[in-house]
């Protein structure tokens, strides 16, 4: 990966919790079902609508519009999924990289060297985040950026612990053996 320096080891990769994309997916499924619910309902309630759809021409036009609707929803769901999938937090033995994909045309990459981290804070607010174990991770930095917020991350306490461990075990420059030992200690690469 081009963001990494030569010899740098990835210790952890963390993504947003699956509940976030599942919620968006449920919304798309609901929207996809709207015509399948509305048309039979209209046919049952309004007299004459059922007979109207019995005609082959209207049936074909309705089928065409339905396919257009489903294709558009399918595309928008995958745009949402791509935004979810490309949002990632990478912790290496030298830095923390937070990549945030807002939409197809907006992307943000924040790189915080480990020595610039001043404080870590985990925020879990709400019923589902508490039950499912996801929340926000606030990384206070010494740089002009001040604070990096990683939202909706899985197991934020675990991520905080790993960053803290890596921070304290940070190898001084010119000691690659220590960094290698750290990679072995943390099972080389964790996925959360």
């Amino acid at each position: 990966m081009s963001l990494l320096q030569p010899g740098e080891t990835i210790v952890l990769q963390a993504r947003r919790h699956w509940f976030i994309i599942a919620l968006e997916g449920a919304m798309f499924v609901g929207l996809a079902l709207v015509p399948f619910v509305l048309l039979p309902a209209a046919a049952a309630i309004v007299p004459g609508v059922g007979a109207l759809f019995a005609g082959p021409r209207v049936f074909a036009v309705t089928g065409f519009i339905l396919h257009v609707w489903l294709l558009l929803l399918w595309m928008f769901f995958f745009v949402a999924w791509t935004n979810y999938y490309l949002d990632i937090l990478i912790v290496t033995d030298r830095q923390v990289i937070d990549i945030e994909q807002f939409n197809l045309f907006a992307r943000d990459q924040v790189i915080v060297p480990l020595q610039n981290i001043q404080d870590l804070k985990v925020e879990v607010v709400g019923l589902f985040p508490t039950i499912l174990g996801f929340g926000d991770l606030h990384i206070q930095t010494a740089s002009s950026l001040r604070e990096v917020v990683v939202r909706g991350i899985r197991n934020p306490q675990e991520v905080k612990k790993v960053i803290s461990t890596v921070y304290h075990a940070m190898a001084p420059p010119g000691e690659p053996e220590a960094a290698q030992a750290l990679g072995e200690q943390t099972n080389t690469q964790l996925r959360i």
Partner: protein, 76 residues
Amino acid sequence: MIVTQPVVVSPLLRVIVALGFLLVMLFFTLISIFLNYHWHKYEVDPGRTRIQRWTYFGVSSVLVVGMIIFGVMAIL
């Protein structure tokens, strides 16, 4: 004796369906290009999006074929 009347398709309907189809296909092509670009360029682990890519293009193809069939049925 059965008397059949020729089916008259409104020219407006043909134009609407044809234009709708072209617009949706243009939009689909653009979004697919952008999505594919992102999957290739920004993927952290190369190869992990292969299944998702196949799913996206597989289901999209089915929907496009359905759209073409119903579109042709509507204007012929």
